[in-house]
């Protein structure tokens, strides 16, 4: 039996069939055009030469990164801010394995990607041929689904299915492995216009019974709180969330990835929850009697010790992915649905607002008593003040990207995201080197927006080769390096939990970032005081040119407040200045 055979007859686009015989590579390009792909990110190599040749003859905009990892992170940034799938093309073997970090990152953070990898010719698969790697085997656990094309006639169907799977339900990366000889075969395949995937039927509409249960729970709740995750952003449900919150007057906590799904300047916003969340957000999650999770997955960085997470709450969970419901936290009201569909359904019914005046007052008081704080003494720029400056100068309207670590947490705490889809960060996988290339992808998706890449000095050095791409495309990306000459978060943990044994976390030698930028023809600045920083930021953040600013921040500044690993939400440390 054919490996990829399907039984059902599918609708076919007949306009393309009249084009006559084509080779596999042309079919690949034609299939991408049918999916309205405007841009792809990639890097050529031996096994994809036929595909690149077809691209040369029949262009789709291709962004040539300087490393495959840069290409895929750019595609992730593109996908996050545009809502469209990011398309990646890389060669077999090392090209494909260089994508692994990005694919995993997209899987963890539910970003829609369609990744194409070349493969050695079908006749030599399994013989350890030159640049052969078992990409299907390697990427099986890190993709939503993957395919190897064994018959050229299946290519249009597989591409169409891949885009469907990547972008519907809970989004995620889908990989298609194309052997070199398949790209060269001539044929006249049919371009299908529908999918037949009986094993993949994501549920969008909420179950009425469960929605009624939520209504009952809301009417009784005295201490309700909403936890809004990235599901709100993927479902484009921020407007509905705001309406629901304003009608019901329920305080809102965002997850790291959910920031922007609810306006940070709203009086009912309590901040981010979790390990470096605000005291008020974590207090609310700890004391609540009705927790409504909308599109968040109860990640361990959010919940802390599960034994102390919302211990007395009725838990309602709205999620498009049924496997997330009940995975980490026992759920009483499961609602498998798209966040927007669920909120619309809820708003269409007559819900009674909970009587929670006392609760809201208590949380407001906590917000006033325990705000985020920062040290004011010491050498160097305060990273928190720096972020406030960036917010002020960009009027809170920039797209901001980060890696993982201290600079990420300061951005999450202080930038204040008031609108959806302007926040790009590596949450689940926590990938260093993600921020800068993802900013490139975001800038390509939104050429008119100010895009600010916040990077640590260590993370930036992992993917800084993409400066070449910024220079080549003259992208006005603003790169702000939070430079503390260290792996800041590792250093912080070593100071806190390993008696200041700074094992391999201090980086004494680094490039002169100003000269580095200059070598690519990009403006570079080094700033060491808050006055200098403000001057340079005001000069450079609002114009239409790329810039790299090496900001010397206080090297020993810590991210506070904090929940130590293994501790519960109520055990925050560093809530007040020491």
């Amino acid at each position: 039996m054919n490996q990829n055979a399907k039984v059902k007859e599918l609708k076919v686009d007949t306009t393309a069939a009249s084009a006559g015989p084509m080779n596999g590579a042309d079919i690949f390009i034609e299939s991408l055009k049918k999916e309205n792909v405007e841009v792809m990110f990639g890097y050529p190599g031996g096994a994809v030469l036929p595909l690149y040749d077809a691209l040369y003859k029949n262009p789709i905009r291709h962004i040539l990164a300087r490393h495959e990892q840069g290409a895929i992170h750019a595609a992730e940034g593109y996908a996050r801010v545009s809502g469209k799938p990011g398309v990646v093309l890389a060669t077999s073997g090392p090209g494909a394995t260089n994508l692994v970090t990005g694919i995993t990152d997209a899987m963890m953070d539910s970003l829609p990607l369609v990744v194409f990898t070349g493969q050695v010719a079908t006749g030599v698969i399994g013989t350890d041929a030159f640049q052969e790697a078992d990409v299907i085997g390697i990427t099986m656990p890190i993709t939503k689904h993957n395919y190897q094309v064994r018959d050229m006639n299946d290519l249009p169907r597989i591409v169409h299915e891949a885009f469907h799977i990547a972008t519907t339900g809970r989004p995620g990366p889908v990989l298609i492995d194309i052997p070199k000889d398949i790209a060269g075969m001539i044929g006249e395949p049919e371009f299908v216009t529908e999918v037949d995937l009986p094993g993949y039927q994501p549920n969008f509409k909420p179950n009425s019974l469960q929605v009624k249960k939520l209504r009952g729970a809301l009417a009784q709740a005295k201490k309700p709180v909403i936890l809004a995750g990235a599901g709100v952003l993927h479902a484009k449900a921020s407007k509905e969330l705001l309406q629901f919150v304003e009608k019901m007057q329920i305080p809102v906590v965002n997850t790291l990835l959910g920031l922007g799904g609810f306006p940070a300047n709203h009086p009912l916003f309590l901040g981010m929850g979790g390990m470096h969340g605000t005291n008020t957000a974590n207090k609310a999650l700890y004391e609540t009697d009705l927790l409504i999770n909308i599109g968040a997955r109860f990640d361990d960085r959010l919940t802390g010790n599960l034994a102390h997470f919302a211990p007395s709450a009725t838990v309602a969970h709205i999620d498009i992915d049924p496997a997330e419901i009940g995975k980490n936290v026992e759920t009483h009201i499961p609602i498998v649905a798209d966040a927007r569909a669920a909120l619309k359904k809820i708003m269409s019914l007559d819900f009674e607002a909970p009587k929670a005046d006392e609760w809201r007052a208590k949380l407001q008081q906590d917000k006033v008593e325990n705000p985020l704080w920062n040290t004011e003494d010491g050498e160097g720029i305060s990273p928190q003040l720096l972020m406030k400056m960036i917010h002020e100068i960009t009027e809170g309207d920039a797209i901001v990207t980060t890696d993982v670590g201290q600079h990420q947490m300061w951005t999450a705490q202080y930038y204040g995201f008031n609108k959806p889809d302007q926040w790009v960060t590596s949450g689940g996988l926590g990938t260093m080197g993600f921020g800068f290339p993802s900013a490139i992808g975001a800038q390509i998706a939104k050429p008119d927006k100010t895009v600010v890449a916040i990077a640590g000095d260590a993370g930036f050095q992992m993917t800084l080769q993409e400066l070449g791409l910024v220079a080549e495309l003259k992208l006005p990306v603003k790169i702000i390096v939070y430079n503390n000459m260290a792996l800041g978060m590792v250093r912080q943990w070593q100071e806190t939990f390993y008696e200041e044994r700074y094992s391999q976390s201090l980086i004494p030698v680094q490039p002169d970032f100003v000269k580095l930028a200059d070598s690519y023809g990009i403006r570079g600045y080094k700033v060491s005081t808050e006055e200098e920083a403000e001057k340079v930021l005001r000069e450079t953040l609002t114009d239409n040119e790329p810039v790299l600013i090496d900001c010397r921040i206080k090297p020993k500044e810590m991210v506070y407040p904090m929940i130590a690993p293994g501790k519960g939400l109520h055990e925050m440390i560093g809530v007040k200045p020491q």
Binding site: V7, M140, N203, A323
Partner: protein, 173 residues
């Protein structure tokens, strides 16, 4: 707790790898796994016997299996009216004196001798897990040289008793 889970899957290349990989990475313990063709061409059925800690873990096993694109249907059939069968082949040491005894022992199990050698016999037995375990225990004193088992496969009985107990969650609400 031991659960019997069945999954019908598209017979695509790598589907077994997908499923076993999933079990490994989510730390679900499999006792046995069987795969075979079904009445529909291109569709296979897998039967897993899994060991899980609690009901929530079973729920996760089912949901994670269901998330796979090539998986059509997943069922935990442990609490339903089902028939489970496994085939085992046992090579048992014999002497002229014990051969008749072994014949008597295996007879109630409706097992058959399918190969005879000078100093051993190979016995084929079909039955549920407990039956096979019981027969192995009885034959152990004679010296078992080798055991090969297929693992359990299962099917729901034609008529089901009414199930009144409803679970706290299910796959779709």
């Amino acid at each position: 707790m031991k659960r019997i889970v069945t999954a019908t899957v598209f017979n695509q290349s790598g589907v077994l790898n997908r499923i076993t990989g999933l079990f490994t990475r989510r730390q679900f313990n499999i006792e046995s796994i069987t795969v075979g063709a079904t009445e529909t061409e291109g569709v296979s059925k897998m039967t897993f016997v899994v060991h899980v800690e609690d009901a929530r873990m079973v729920e996760q096993v089912l949901k994670q299996l269901n998330k796979q694109i090539d998986v059509l249907k997943v069922n935990d059939i442990t609490d339903q009216a089902i028939v489970t069968r496994e085939l085992a082949l046992l090579k048992v040491m014999t002497t002229p004196q014990t051969r008749a005894e072994i014949n008597v022992i295996i007879e109630p199990f409706r097992a058959t001798i399918i190969d005879v050698a000078k100093d051993s016999v190979t016995i084929q037995v079909v039955g549920n897990f407990e039956k096979i375990e019981a027969m192995i225990e009885l034959l152990r004193p004679y010296g078992i040289k080798e055991v090969a088992r297929t693992g359990q496969t299962a099917i729901k009985r034609g008529s089901q008793r009414l199930v009144s107990e409803s679970k706290p969650f299910s796959i779709l609400n």
